[in-house]
Structures are given as C-alpha cells and as structure tokens.
Amino acid sequence: MSITAETAKQHANDPAVLCCRAEEGTVLEPANFEDPAIFPDLIDSGLLNIDGALTLGQVLNGKTKLTKTVDSLTAITPAIAEGFDAAEVAEEEVVEEVAEAAPVAAAPVAAAPAAAGTIKLHIGEGKDIDIEIPAGLGGGAVAVPVAEAAAPAAVAAAPAAEVAEEKVVRELTRKHYNITEVKRGPETKIEGTVLYIREGIEEEAVASQDLVTSMKIEIITPELYHTYSETVMDIQPIATKEDECPLGEGYTRVLDGVVTVVTGTTDEGIQIAEFGSSEGYLDENMQWNRPGAVDKGETMIKYFVTIKNGKNMERPGPIAAHSAVDFVTAEIRNAMKKDLPETADSEQVLKQVRRPGKKKIVIVKEIMGQGAMHDNFLFPSEPVGVLGARPNVDLGNVPVCASPLEVMDGCIHALTCIGPASKEMS
C-alpha cells in the first residue's frame, strides 16, 4: 500500500520499492512506494528482490526521476532512476557510527542549509528524525539562552567562525510578589501579601458566557489539599504585563504562592474532557513541584465551572469554561496593576542573547490543535489570558515561531483535556 510522507520519513533507511506501476519520467513521491513494514513477508515468498535498492531517504528528495517504466514491487536501483541522493548513504553510515559510540546522546548532528533552500535538521538517537522547515520560517529562529548545556555531545565539528560580540535581542523582567493569603472581600484587591477576590464575582463570570451555568470559587490552602476536585482542566500562573508591553518583553508582574486551577463538569456531572479525566482528591492526583503542576505549599484558587449538558466534548464548551475563569483572573490582573508597588519582592531578568558564530538552536515543541479541549490559545495579550489569543486549530496547526521569552511569558494557554499527569498545563 502506498505510504504517507510521515511513514516515508520513518523508513528513510529502508529500501525504496514501488507499490504500483510507474512510468518513465515520474518524479517519485511517497505515494509511489510500498510500505517497508511488509517487505519481510514479500521477500520470504520470493515476490520481492531488494538487491542494490536505493533507500527511501535517497530517492525522496523531490528530484528523483524514473528513467524507465517499471511495474509494481520493483526496487529502485541506480539503473532505473536518476537524480537520487548519493550523499545520504554516507551520512547514514556516520549516523550509525555515532549511534554505536554514544547510544544515549541526543544531539543535533548537523544543521546545514540544504541545496533546495531548506534548513534540514538531522537528529540521531537510534531512531532518525528529519525535520525540514522552509527557509523563510527559520528567519526568526533564535538561540535559547539556557539550552546551551543541552547539546554536550555535538558530534559534527562546529564550523570555525569568528567570535563576535554577543547581542541581547530581547529582555524580559519578571517581578515576583509574594502572596501569603487569599480571601474573599467586597472588592478585588491586593493589600500587602493578601489577595482579596470580590464576593459575587461568580455570577458575573457566569453571565459573561452563554454556555456556563454556574461557577464556584474555592480557596485551597495546603491544609485543604485533601479535597475532592472535578477534572483539572488547567493550572495557570497569575501574571500581568506592566505598561501594556507585549508578551515576551518588558516587565511582567507575577504572583508567587498562588495559582489558578480550572476544573469543570457539565450540568449533569459529566467531566469536561471525559477522556482520561483527573477527578479525585487533589493531593492524590497532583504531581507536586513539576513544571505545569502546583508546587507544594501554594494556595490554589480552584474554580469549579459547570457548562451546559452535551457541550463537554464540543469546542465551545471548554472554551467557555476557560473564558469564565479568565473573567475573574482579569479582575485580579487589574488589581495587580493598581495595588502592587513598583518594587517587587524579587526580580528575575531573562535575556535572549544572540551569539554570532555559535550554533543556533531551535526547540521544536508539538502542541495540540484539534479544537475543543485538545487545543491551545496562542499569544493572548496577557500571560495565559484569553483576550487577543488565537486557537491553534484556527491557525491551521502550522508551525508558529515564538521567542523563548514569549514562551516563558505565557504565550501558550493550554486547553488540555487531562490532568497534569500526561498533558501539559499552561
């Protein structure tokens, strides 16, 4: 059976065998090839001879042409094709040696611009992963300041380059403010280290969303961690931008010691995202102190949102739950802008540095974009906000370039379906 581009990539080092008759002059593409997974059976039964066959990686370079019309189950050999990649063979051998020498090394092997104007990344870790990005997209690619240490086993010799001045491209200052207590009060405000959330704000949050039918806010202090919770839809930091500077730059005010926890069900009690949901006692389910999870000792502002029946697996339902919670968080953000002093309890300065002559590092992160709860809001105007954000699925799940500072400043608002166990929270 013909294969997809993804399967072809997985089998880049397997023999290229046509699944169907192909005519002279055909430029070969994944759909021309048989799935290597069934080769052993075919060879056993004498149907297939792969002597001298080129690999899929060699012939799927966009320019390999057949010089002869041949029938299905014919292996592509140099005798019947032209324009295939000879170099790939050598590279493959190198990679195998590397794999033997350092099987655990997960190192970028080469990041050289390929002939056709694409950046080709080859990562060898026993299994091969090839990534091609149109050159235009790589334009904004930037070095991640902390990631240098992650490439200790760089095998290919770095091209000798002149050492030039380091340049700070962007800077982000996080101003941390400690919160020791969260209370309900007549207005949303911050007094010293106490955060007050306005009483009755739940009704307004509910009214702001058609699909939301109720909301309950619980303040979970460490003594109350053994509390039953419906499925955790997201865990969010509470932060706001100063002076309307954009995400990833300027100043961000962050509340320490307190996090937002979004939970919810439908009216009749079905978990939103009944798909590996995480309802249960918080202290039994929470993987404390992990990225994206609650740190032990933090106070949770836990929102229990109910939405209309039947909307739990549809796109607008989970989005409404998130939006209702953000209605409250937005008011907290306003209080942060108004009530917090200029000087923070602590400050963290993050710099994005360009180091000419050094390797450029791009971190590729897969995020969900199926709509509903399997989605992410990208680039809200406030950290992990709703306003101004675009759902990933609406962007068409295309590659999106973000600066490392934008990521660290909350440009991804996760609408994930399951608890922090297996999928990522904001």
């Binding site: 059976m1 013909s2 699944c19 169907c20 008759r21 005519e23 759909a31 048989e34 799935d35 069934i38 059976d41 075919l42 039964s45 004498g46 149907l47 019309t69 029938d71 299905s72 189950l73």
Partner: protein
C-alpha cells in the same frame, strides 16, 4: 412489442408523482409524472393508453401506429426549457441536468465527458461523429446557463475519427477545446475528467464546482440542444446493445429508443439472445448491474451487455477486492455466486473511500495505491481465486503479485469483456498519459 414501463425514479432524487390516471390516452411527449423534490419531469415515450400505475412505475400499452410527432414543451429561457424537458445526466448517474448546470460559475469551465469509458460501448462516440453540430449547439447553451467562459471536450485519443471531426468543428470556436484522454479505466469518472482537463485533484467529497467546473456527459449536452432547439421533451435514449447476441459480438447502437422499452425488446431488435449466456448487465461492465428481460430502460441507461456464461468453480474459495471503480460489495457477491464460488475474504482498495450515502469514491481515480497487502490477506485467508473490481492501474498492481502468490485473478468485467471482444483488465500495457497532438503516436495499443 412489450408494454412500456416508465419508472418513476429515473434520476438522482425522489421518485416522481404520476399526473395521469389509468385509461388516459397519452401521446409521445405527454407529461405523465412530476418531481416531488429533487428530480425531473417524466414524459410518455409512445402513443398509447395508461394501463396500470403501481408504486414505482406507470405502464403504458402502446398503440400499433406510432408517429414521429411529439408534444412540444413550451418555449422559455434555455434553462427553463431544459428543466421542463426533464433532462437528466445520461452518462449513468442521472442527476437532474437543470440543477447541475444552474451553477453560477465564476468564469469557469464546462467539461464535456465523452470518455465513454466502459468497455464495449459505442453510442457516445458515434453520436459525436454523426451530429457534432448538436453537441456544439447544446454546449453553447450549457456554457451560457452555467456562466462558463470555456469548454473542454474530454475524449479518448483512440477515437481518431471523432476527434478529427471535433477538431474541424471547433476550429472557429475559441472558447471550446478538446482534451485527449488515454485509453484506461476510469477516465470518465467525474473527478478524473476534472484532473485530466484542469490538473486539479478533487477530494472524493468535492463536486466539480470546487474546481469552478461542471462535468456533463456528451449525450446529455445533445439532449439539452434538443430541448431548446426542437422543444423536445426527454423521453428517448441512445444505447449500445452488445454481447452474446445472435449474429456476433459487434455493437448494436440504437438511437432514440423510447424510455421504458423492455430489455427483451431491445435484445430482440439486436438479434436475440444466444443460447448460452451468463447474465444481462444493464449499464456498463464496471458500474452496471444484472437485470432481467422484463426490466425497462431508463433515461440514464447506456448499455445492455449480454455476457459469456460463467465458469463453474465448484465452490472454490474466492476473495473479493471491492473498489470504488467497479461494483459494490453486493454486486461482487452476486458475481461470486454466479461463478459458483465460496466467498472467503473481502478486502477494499485503500483508496475506495466510503461516502456519506454509503457509496464509495476513489481518492485518486486511476492511480493505484498498491495492492500487495490485500493479496497477502487473501492468501492468508486461503483463497484460491480472487475477483477484483479495480481500474486499469490497480488491476495491473494486483497482477504484479497475485499470480506469483498462487492466486487466480478474475476481474468483475471478465465475462462481459469476453462477450464484447474487449481485452481483459489485467496487466496494463499502455501509458497513463497521452500527447495532446493527435498525430503523435503514444505507446497505446489498439483496443
């Protein structure tokens, strides 16, 4: 002559409702049934008396004397007249033509489907040779109605005489071109026509309108011209009768056969059934179905094929490879039974995508996705024979591994192809692309 049976559903859509009653005298062209939803008017095809009205048909007892005169439809705009005349797609699908061509294209294309792709059929090409002016006249009406700037007539290169006639007549028609197709199945599939002519590969769920085009069968275009120029209601059909018929396997092309004529009458007109035959197929060998002598033809019936007798496989194990190009599972099972084989395993071509209405459409008509996996499954299931309903390219792929594995390959159309002297669908020996210059010889073998 048998009674004329006018089926109330001769088109895509809902059955029509009768507007005559038993005992009524009807003339050729008398409106006898009207659409109840999507559909097209149905007219009496003979002079006679309504004898019976059942749930699905109106039965007319024809008069001895039949005149060529018919009741004319009233004048109107071309679109109104085509609608009034009850024209439906004559290529087989039977979609109401007035609905299809009322397309509001944005400087789009009319693609005339003259592929005549089913083996052994001749009436489409013969009509182009005989009355090309009618095709061009109809085409101009259709272009105007649909808002098309351009028209392309898609025809197989093997039909040299018809192509030469077309080239001559469109010499002075800058808006009309012709496109030559290779002689492989299924070049007449709607989306294959779009791909070949415009280079746009449509999804199975998409209509040609997604490519800013309307695909319309060549006989349908001529019927449109008749509706507008001759005020003629659609009550007759051209068709090919061929196969195990006394006198030999040559095609019998019948012009303007009254819709509702029985299969028996047509076969008798052609010479009568030979003593030995397998089944009678109404429609083409790929997409048609077995029929009976008393069945009537419809507005969209293109052929009656009398096949060779079926071999007796004495209960041997047979696998079925269902493809969007050929019969559905039901039709394939019918043939397996007729071969007296035991159905053992069913596989589907990877590209035969099931549609919302339960039918299947090919993702890339005429371009194989590989079949060896299915063959391995058949082998594992212990099949001795397999029967396939695939296109030329896929059949070729099946043949590349099937026989080597010891599978005996039958094609769904074998018994029909043998009876119309058409090569069996097995190994492909012709190119899937042809040069658009009629005088360049491709590696195409004659039929």
């Amino acid at each position: 002559m048998d009674k004329i049976q006018m089926l109330l559903r001769q088109h895509v859509g809902a059955p029509c409702a009768p507007v005559v009653k038993v005992g009524d005298k009807v003339k050729k062209g008398t409106l006898i049934a009207e659409p109840t939803g999507l559909g097209a008017n149905i007219f009496a095809s003979v002079y006679g008396t309504v004898e019976e009205i059942t749930e699905d048909r109106i039965i007319i007892n024809p008069d001895e004397e039949q005149s060529d005169e018919y009741v004319k439809i009233k004048k109107g705009t071309p679109l109104e007249m085509i609608k009034e005349a009850g024209v439906v797609g004559m290529g087989g699908a039977g979609f109401p033509t007035a609905v299809k061509i009322n397309a509001n294209l944005d400087h789009g294309y009319i693609l005339v489907n003259a592929a005549e792709c089913e083996p052994g059929l001749k009436h489409n090409i013969m009509q182009i040779e005989k009355e090309p002016e009618k095709l061009i006249a109809g085409l101009k009406y259709v272009m105007e109605i649909a808002g098309a700037d351009k028209a392309i007539i898609a025809i197989k290169k093997k039909n040299r005489k018809a192509v030469e006639i077309l080239d001559e007549i469109i010499k002075n028609e800058p808006a009309i071109e012709r496109h030559l197709l290779p002689d492989i199945y299924p070049m007449g599939e709607e989306r294959a026509v779009v791909r070949e002519c415009l280079g746009i590969e449509l999804e199975p769920s998409q209509l040609p309108s997604a490519a800013n085009a309307v695909v319309i069968n060549s006989e349908t275009v001529c019927r449109c011209a008749e509706a507008v120029d001759e005020q003629k209601p659609s009550f007759s059909k051209n068709l090919t009768v061929r196969g195990q018929i006394n006198g030999g396997h040559e095609p019998h092309v019948f012009w303007d056969v009254p819709v509702g004529t029985s299969v028996n009458d047509l076969i008798e007109m052609a010479g009568g059934l030979q003593e030995q035959y397998g089944e009678i197929i109404m429609g083409g060998a790929f997409t048609g179905k077995a029929t009976t002598l008393d069945a009537p033809i419809c507005k969209n019936t293109g052929a009656l094929l009398v096949t060779m007798p079926f071999m007796d496989l004495k209960g041997a194990k047979m696998g079925i490879l269902v493809c969007a190009c050929g019969g559905n599972l039901e039709r394939m099972q019918d043939i397996v039974k007729k071969y007296n084989a035991t159905e053992t395993c069913v596989c589907y071509c990877k590209q035969a995508q099931e549609q919302k209405n339960g039918t299947r459409k090919c993702e890339r008509p005429g371009n194989c996705p590989g079949q060896v996996k299915n063959n391995m499954d058949f082998k594992k299931a212990g099949c001795e024979y397999i029967i396939i309903g695939n296109c030329s390219d896929c059949s070729n792929t099946v043949m590349a591994s099937g026989p080597k594995m010891g599978l005996k390959v039958f094609h769904q159309t074998d018994h029909a192809c043998r009876a119309v002297d058409h090569a069996l669908y097995r190994t492909l020996r012709v190119s899937k692309s042809v040069d658009q210059d009629l005088n360049v010889v491709d590696n195409v073998e004659a039929e």
